[in-house]
C-alpha cells in the first residue's frame, strides 16, 4: 500500500496504490491524519490505482471525513474502479461521500467552494 502526496494550490491529493485491508489501512490512516493535523482541509483521495478495499479501509475514510468536517474541510474521492465502488455502494458510503469520476473534477469541487 502506497500513498503518493501531491499538491494543486490549496488542494492536497493523495494517490492510493495497492490493497487497503486490515493490515495496510493503517498506512493510509497515518497519512490522512498527518495531513489533517498539519492543517490541510481540502483533500482529494485518488483511487485510480486502489485495487481493493475492505471495511478496514472504509473506516479510515469515515474517520478522516469526520475529522475534516469538524475542521470545516472536505474529503472528495475520485476515479474508483467498479470493484471498489461496489464496496462503497453496498455499505451506503456512496451517499455520504462525494465521489468524482476524475481527479480534475475532485480538485475543482474544492475550488468551487473557495
Amino acid at each position: 500500500m502506497e500513498c503518493i502526496e501531491e499538491r494543486n494550490e490549496s488542494v492536497v491529493i493523495v494517490g492510493l496504490q495497492g490493497r487497503m485491508d486490515s493490515s495496510t489501512a493503517r498506512i493510509v490512516e497515518e497519512k490522512m491524519l498527518s495531513l489533517i493535523d498539519r492543517g490541510e482541509s481540502r483533500l482529494v483521495v485518488d483511487c485510480a490505482h486502489l485495487d481493493y478495499i475492505s471495511s478496514a479501509g472504509l473506516r479510515v475514510f469515515l474517520m478522516a471525513a469526520k475529522r475534516l468536517t469538524q475542521a470545516r474541510g472536505k474529503l472528495v474521492l475520485s476515479t474508483m474502479s467498479d470493484d471498489v465502488k461496489q464496496v462503497f455502494d453496498l455499505t451506503g458510503f456512496s451517499s455520504i461521500f462525494q465521489i468524482c469520476p476524475s481527479r480534475e473534477e475532485a480538485i475543482n469541487s474544492h475550488r468551487r467552494e473557495s
Partner: protein, 144 residues
C-alpha cells in the same frame, strides 16, 4: 466439471496473512476460469471474517492456526473458515444503519454486513472448541 475442485489454506493468526490468502484464492478462481469479480467478492468476504477472528478471537498472543477450505461444485462455490478462537457467531451481528448521516455513522460494524451482501448463504456451527463458518455463493449470482 466432474470432481469438485478443492483448495485448502492454513494460516497463522496474523493480519499480514490475508494478502497471501487473497493471492491463493485469486489463482484458484483464475485456474478454474471463473469471473474475476467472483475472486474479489470471495476475497473481501474472507478478509472480513479473518480480520474479525484474528483481531478479536483470541486471548493472549500465541500463534494459532485458521483453516480455510474452498470447494467448487456444480451449483456454486463454498468457502469454510474454521478457527479455535473464542465462540463467535458472526451471523448474529446486528445490521448497521446504512441511512445514517456522516456525523452519526459509527466507525466499524460494516464487515459482516458486506459478507451478508456478497454471499448467498451463511451458516455458523459451533464445533467442539472450534468455530466453523460456511459461506456459499451460488452459480446464478457469479456474474451479478
Amino acid at each position: 466439471m466432474n470432481e469438485p475442485e478443492r483448495l485448502t489454506i492454513a494460516i497463522k493468526n496474523d493480519l499480514a496473512e490475508i494478502g497471501r490468502v487473497s493471492r491463493i484464492v485469486t489463482d484458484f478462481v483464475t485456474r478454474n476460469r471463473l469471473p474475476a469479480k467472483l475472486a474479489f467478492d470471495l476475497n473481501l468476504s474472507l478478509d472480513e471474517i479473518l480480520t474479525n477472528i484474528i483481531s478479536y478471537g483470541y486471548e493472549g498472543d500465541g500463534e494459532r492456526q485458521i483453516d480455510i477450505r474452498c470447494t467448487l461444485a456444480e451449483d456454486g462455490v463454498t468457502v469454510e473458515v474454521e478457527d479455535d478462537g473464542r465462540p463467535f457467531n458472526p451471523i448474529e451481528t446486528p445490521e448497521p444503519d446504512l441511512s445514517a448521516l456522516l456525523e452519526d455513522r459509527p466507525i466499524g460494524g460494516l464487515g459482516v454486513h458486506l459478507v451478508r451482501q456478497l454471499m448467498d448463504q451463511l451458516e455458523y456451527r459451533r464445533l467442539e472448541r472450534k468455530n466453523l463458518l460456511i459461506m456459499k455463493r451460488r452459480i446464478e449470482s457469479w456474474n451479478a
